[in-house]
Subunit: 215 residues, 4 copies
C-alpha cells in the first residue's frame, strides 16, 4: 500500500478546471443528486474500450445512465451459486433497486476482446485457453456466439462476432428471472447496439437480432 | 429475443446530433483510433453510479482512459480458478496487453453499494446475506474494510467505508502477480481517489491510505 | 564552443523539483513514451511568444501535442526546392510520419511579429525591408494578409492582421500536397484559433475565416 | 479554406476550465503581460516532439521563456541570403529585440529526427536524400555531427548524434554576428542540454561539449 501515488498534475489541473466550470454551473443539480440519490432512466452495458464512451455519443447528463463496463460488453448466464459475479450484481441493482426503464447493451467494432475470442475459438490463441487466463475465461461467455459465425467467409466472422457479443448477452440477460419479469411486465425494455468507432455509425438489432439496422 | 426493442427516439436524436458535430469535427481522429487501435494511458476503475463519469471530471478525450465500471468500484483478490472474473479480465487486459501507465481507482460519496455493504455487515440487511443475492456476494469483497470502520462513530462509518472500498481494491490489486510486477518495476503507478458528488471535490489517498488529501 | 555555460541554479532547482514530483509520479508513463514512441493526436503551430503556451490552456499531457513554434505562427507556401524549411519539415513529419488527426494553428493578440509586419508593409520599418533582416524576410509570408487589412480603420488593422496570420497559414498549408490529401480524405482536420492574452479568450475561424467566434 | 473546422469539444471544455481557474486566478498578470509586452529571460530552442515540453520540466510561468520548436532542435548556419529562415528569425528577434539573457538548446533522447538523420547519413534512408524531402533537407544541418559519431560502436552512435544536434546548433549559433556579439559582451549566455525522456534526467554540455554532466 506504500505504492499509492499522487495523481498526475495534468489530471489535477483538469479536475480544477471541471470544478470551476461544469460543477460551479450545475452545483444545484449535483447537490440534489447527492441528497436524493440517483434515478437513472437506463442501464448501459458497454466495453471498457477507451474509444467507446456512451455518455459522449448519447449526450448523457450526470444522473442519466447507470453504466457497467467490462471486456466486450458481456453478460454471463444467471448463476446464483454464491460466487462473486460483478456483472450480475450490477444488473440486479439496476433492475431491482433502481428500476431502470431501459437496459441497453452497446457493442463496438474493432473490439480487442472479441478478436481475442475469435482467435481462441479458431485455435490460434492457445494462451487464452489456459485456466489462468482471466481474459480467456471471460471470453468463454461468447463461445456460443462463435458457433453462429464460424462458417461465414473469413472477413465477415469478426464483425459478426461483435454482433453476437450483444445478442449472446441479451439472451443471457433473459435467463435472469428478475430481468425476464421486468421485460414481460412491460416495465423495462432491452436494446442491442453496435457502435462503429471509425465511421461514427450505430446499428441496432431488430427482429430479435436477425437484422441490424442503422439508427 | 423477440424482446429487443428499437432505441427511444430521444437517444436516436442525440446520437445524430453527436454524429453531425463531435464525430464530423473529429472523424480523422476516430478513424485513426479505429485503424491503429487504442493506446490509453490509464485504466480507471469506477462505480456504475450514474452520477460519476470520470471522462467528464477529467476532461478526457476518446482514447485516453480504459474504464471498467462495477458496483462500488471493487477489485476482488487474485483467483485464477478458471471461473469467470470480469474485473480481473479487464485488469489483465489493461496491464498485460495495453500496458497502461496508471491504474486509478475512483470511489465516490453516496454510494448505494457501500451503503448496502454497511447495512449487511452491521446486521441490518439479511436479504443481502442470501446466497442468491448478487449484490450481497459482490459486496463481500468489502467485508474486510468494514472491520476497519465498525468502531468509528456512527456518522463516520459510511464515509470511511467508501474510502475502504478504494483501499481494499488497491490491496487486492497488489495480489495480482502482473500488477505487482508492473508496479515494482516502475512501469505502472496506482492511485486512489474518492469523488464527492454533491460538493464536487476530490480527495486522494496518501501514505498508503493513512491520509486523504483534497487535490 | 568555450562559451557554453552551466544552467542557472534556479532552473536546476526547478528541474530537480519536477523530477522528484511530476516525473516520479508518472515515471511509468514517461518510460512507456520513451519505449513506444510518441503518438500525438494533434500538431499545433503557435508563436514563440513567451505568453502563449498551448499545453497550459488546453491542459495537455506529455505526448498529446506535437508543437512547432515560430515567429507569428506562420506557414510558408509549399516549396520543394531543396533548401532548408524548418516549418515545412515539421509539417511533413507530423502529417506523413505521425499521422496526426488535427492540425491547429494558434495565433495570438499583441504579437510582436505581426506588429512588425504591419509596420514594414505600411512603410514604417525600413530596417525590416533589408535583405539581411531574418524577421523581415520571415514576415514576408504575411504580406498577402496585409492586403486584406490595409483599408480597415487604423485601430482594426493589427487585430485583423493577427487573424490573417492564421488564415494565410491555413491557406499555405493547403498548398502542401500531403496536407491537402490528408484533409480531403478525412484523415486530418484543420483548425484556426486566435488567443487573446490579456482577456484569456479564444476565438476560432468559421466559414473559412469569414467569421471568428468565441469558443 | 472551407476546410477549417471547429475545435474538438474536449479541447473547448478544457479551455473553459483553464479560463475559470488559471486565467481567473492570474488575470492581473495576464493583463499586464498583454499591456507591457513580454520580457522573457531566456530563449529555448527545443524539439517539436510531444514528449518534451520545457515549460513543464522547468516549471516555467507564462512570460518566462521565448520558445522556438523545430524538428531536432536545430539551428542552421548564418545565411543572410534574403530567403525565409524561420529559426534565424526567431533567434534574431530574441537576441536583438527581446535581449534575452540565456539561450538554451534542449535536445532529447529517442528523437525521431535524429534517428532519421542517422539512417540517411549511414545510407539506410534513400527517401530522405530526395530533394523534395523537407525532413531530409532539414536534417542536412546535422550532417557534420554524423562525422563525429560514425566510428563509434553502433549502439552509441544515435545517443552521440542526439548530443551533436545540440553542439552543432550551438556552433551554428556562434556564426550569427549578433549572437557572438551578445555572448562576447557578456549580455547573453549559451547552454546545451539533453533531456532523457524515459529516465527523466537532464545532462548539460561542459568544456565546450567535451563532457556531458547530469545536472
Amino acid at each position: 500500500m506504500h505504492n499509492v501515488r499522487p495523481l498526475p498534475q495534468y489530471l489535477v489541473s483538469r479536475f480544477h478546471g471541471w470544478r470551476a466550470t461544469s460543477y460551479e454551473d450545475n452545483s444545484a443539480w449535483y447537490r440534489r443528486l447527492a441528497q436524493e440519490g440517483q434515478h437513472p432512466r437506463a442501464m448501459v452495458i458497454s466495453c471498457c474500450d477507451s474509444r467507446v464512451h456512451v455518455t459522449g455519443i448519447f449526450g448523457a447528463d450526470t444522473g442519466e445512465f447507470f453504466i457497467h463496463r467490462n471486456i466486450a460488453n458481456l453478460v454471463p448466464p444467471y448463476a446464483p451459486d454464491g460466487h462473486q459475479h460483478g456483472t450480475s450484481a450490477a444488473i440486479e441493482y439496476a433492475v431491482n433497486t433502481l428500476k431502470v426503464a431501459h437496459l441497453i447493451v452497446v457493442g463496438h467494432t474493432n473490439c480487442g476482446g472479441v478478436a481475442g475470442c475469435h482467435a481462441m475459438c479458431s485455435g490460434h490463441a492457445p494462451e487464452l485457453e489456459e485456466k489462468t487466463s482471466f481474459v480467456g475465461r471471460w471470453m468463454d461467455i461468447l463461445r456460443p456466439g462463435y458457433e453462429h459465425v464460424k462458417d461465414l467467409p473469413e472477413g465477415e466472422q469478426i464483425p459478426a462476432l461483435e454482433r453476437q457479443a450483444v445478442l449472446v448477452s441479451i439472451k443471457n440477460l433473459l435467463t435472469f428471472p428478475f430481468v425476464r419479469s421486468a421485460v414481460e411486465s412491460g416495465n423495462m425494455s432491452l436494446h442491442g447496439l453496435v457502435h462503429d468507432i471509425g465511421e461514427g455509425k450505430l446499428v441496432q438489432a431488430e427482429d430479435g437480432g436477425r437484422r441490424w439496422v442503422e439508427v
